[in-house]
Every structure is written in C-alpha cells, then in structure tokens.
Amino acid sequence: MSDKMTEKMEVKGLNFYYGTKQALKDINLAVQEGEITALIGPSGCGKTTFLRCLNRMHDLYPGNRYEGEILLEGKNILRKGIDLIKLRSRIGMVFQKPTPFPMSISDNIAFGLKLKGIRNRGEIEGRVETALKDSALFDEVKDRLNTPALSLSGGQQQRLCIARAVAVEPDVILMDEPCSALDPVATVKIEDLMSELKSNYTVVIVTHNMQQAARVSEYTGFFMLGEVMEFDRTKRIFTNPKNKMTEDYITGRFG
C-alpha cells in the first residue's frame, strides 16, 4: 500500500532555534499527499513551532534559525533565495487563535482571492459563498457579509479563517488547533470539511483532541520536548504504539 503514496513534504533532520534556544531537535517525518497528518503532544512541545517551519513563518522575526531540510515536492524550501511569497501561497495556514482581517466578512475571503489574481466580481462572490459554506459559516452570516469580521464570535472568526485559507486553494493546509474555539457541531463540520479537503489537498493539523486525531487523520506524529517521539499511521499509534510515552500520552496517563 505504501508504494502508491507520494510524499508531498519531507522533513529531514530539522533543527530549529529561537535565537540560541533550540525548540526542535532532529525532526524527521513525511507528509503524504492527499492525506491528513495529525500532530499531537503536550503543550509547549513545539507543534506550533514545527508547523510554522513548514511555511517559513519564523522568517518574519530576526534571530530564528533553521537547520536541515524541508522538501516540498522534492525541493528544499529552506534553501536560500526561495520565493517566500510563492511558498506561502502554496502552503496555507490557519492559526491557533482566530486572525480575522479588519474588514468585512466577504472582503476577508476576497483578499486572498484577489492575491491570486481573481478580479471578476461574480467569481469572487461565488467563491466567497462556497468557502463559507465549506467551513459551515454561511448560514450564520449570509445576511451580513458586509459587516466587519471582527464583530463575529471567536468560533465564527475561526471558521472564517478556515474559509479564507481554503478559498485560495493551496497545495498544503496547515491547521494549528483549528477547532479549539469551536462548539461540537462546528467541530464536526470542520472535520467533515477536512475529510473532504483530503481529496484535493494535503492537510497537517495540530490537535489536543485525541479523538479528533484518531477520527480524521491517516498519520500521526507525537511530539515531546521538541522531538518527534513517534510517527506512524494513526491506526498504529492509537492501537499499538511502539513508544511507551506515546501510549501514556494518548491514554491520558501522562506525567
């Protein structure tokens, strides 16, 4: 079975430093195309840090340093001179906290569409609607698409951010605990969306919710103290983990 898989991203010997502080140690894992990869682990273990390496978000701040390789379709995205704008348009991201832009709901999504060069009003409107429907937000906001996004509730804002990231159709979508502010109904909808996205996209999701990881993902990585303790098929991680610590963590006997 594994031979018909293709590796969308491959991380080899990745070390990451916030200044002099090493936050990731020798990370090796592969993200399979068209699958959902879940990252789990205790708070502060480096999941967000790792995710932000994948679209080189850390470059925004001075002093951050990467070592090793991250291959996107075989090409190292840590190489010098890479076009970060293009990279980030291929690798979308949903942040841990909602990050709506200070503009209307529909403009939030249109912003990304315009970046892609879509100018046609009709097409933009159509895509905004589709994206909002996909992220289970449309019914709640259809009458007020032109009101400020900041007036939405936290959970609604997060779904808007998901819609915004999905609307631009990146190759890979990184999601940092996208459901932590959502109620169970919206969570189910987002999980459905992820499963749907799977056919066209590659998804990497950080979650603290073991059930969620087990439900939606094909592969799971267990992080601890900046290292990957175990990376394997989700089924295997949850039924027969090799590492004792993984087992302790997923069964809640941690610490």
Binding site: N55, M57, L60, P62, I85, K86, L87, R88, S89, R90, G92, M93, F95, K97, T99, P100, F101, P102, M103, S104, F111, G112, L115, N146, T147, P148, L150, C161, R164, A165, V168
Partner: protein, 281 residues
Amino acid sequence: MNLHYLRRKLVNYVALGISLLSAVFGIVFLCWILKDVLVLGLPALNTSFFTELPAPPGMEGGGVANAIVGTIMITVIATVVGVPAGILAGTYLSEFGRKSRVASAVRFLSDILVSAPSIVVGIFVYALLVGPMGGFSLLAGSLALAIIMLPVVIRTSEEMLKLVPDSTREAALALGAPQWRVTVQVVYRGALRGMVTGVMLAVARVSGETAPLLFTSFNNTFWNFSLTEPTASLTVTIFNYAMAPYEEWHSIAWGAALLITAMLLVVTLLARFFARGRSTG
C-alpha cells in the same frame, strides 16, 4: 477589620473627590474661555467680517476675509506636505524598520521635535526659506506648520499601526501576500480610524499656531494667492488686533478667535464622524 474597611472607604472618597475637583477645575476654565470667546466674539461676526479686507487703522468696519482664506490655505498646504510624509515615516517605523537603528534615530528625533517650541521651528524656517527667498511667504508659513505637524503624525500613525496585532500581519503573509499589500490593504485598514483621528487632531493643532507664522507667512492686509508672498492668517490677525489700541480691532480679534475655535471644533467633529463611519468596515 471594620476600621480597616472604613479607612479604605475614606481613602477612596478622598481620592475620588480630588480627581473630581481636578476635572471640574479644568472644565471650568474651558467653559470660561468658551463663554468669553462666544460673548465677545459673536457681535463681531457680521457680513463684512467674512467678506471684506481689513480696514485701515482707526477706520470703522472692515473684515478678515483674507485671513480666513489665508489660514485655510496655509493649513491645507501644510497638511498636504506634512501628513503623507508623516504617515510614510510612521509606516516605516511600525512596519519596516521596527528595531533598526534608523528607526530608533527617527523616533528619538521626532520625540525631540514634538517638544520643540513652535517658535523655534518658525525661526528655523525663517533662516531656511524667508532669508534666501527674500521675504515672508505663504510657502514658508505652510512649511513651518508642516514641520510642527510631522512628528505628531509620525508618532500617532506609528502607534495606531502598532495596535494592529502581529498575528493579523502573519495571517496576511501566510496567504502569500507581499509585504506592501499587507501594509496597505490590511494594516492600514485596521489603523484607519486612529490614523484619521490623529491626523485631524494634528491639523487642528497646527491651525491654531501663531508664533511660527509671525516669522514665515507674516501678515498681509490684502488678498494673496501666491506661494511666495506674505499671507494673512486668523491667528496672526488676532495677535495684531488684540495688541492694537483700537476698540474696533479688539472686537474683530474676538471674532477671529471665535471663528478659529469653531473651525477647530468642526475639524475635530469631522475626525470623529469620519472615523466612526468607516471604522473597520
């Protein structure tokens, strides 16, 4: 324990009383000024006040039409020069330079410039423009006001831009937006309300300046629409007329004071109205 509670209550009342008194103290003076300006200024406001040129000394009648237009011209030109420069500098400080040496130098200098007495700026422009150009001019007056406005606009726009959270910038960049688009289309939108208010307040502040204009645009008893000629302004007119020995002129000075107060009020109200109307929509 009861005593303790009583003591806290007492301290609370005393603190409250003092702060209330201070507030009342400030407001009393404000109202007093407004009352005097209104009572003494209103009688001067007639048609000739708005439409006629100043009358020669000792003569009845006359108005300050040229000074009204002059103040507007000087302020508008100052705004056109000072505001874009200030906003761009503020943008540099908040979005591009942040921790660079240049940025901290600019911050330091503009902090000094904010507290520089406006008369110093007047003398500076006098030496820079009035001397070489061979005379007082509208341009020199506008430049002086633009320089006074600059540090205020720089620092307020920087502060307002910084209020937009970094996570918003990150989110826009994560969509593959180039930096300039993030700044212009996302960050500016978030900071618009504060920036407009800041700019309007800076405009209001400089349009009430007198000292720097004395050395630069000076005064003119006639109309002037040339950049290189001396130009009348309301504030300098108030200064001259209030010092003159004629009753008639004192009244006109009060009228001009009322007018400029009203103009500032309008600018401030406009700032609020505009900011509210297009906050984050």
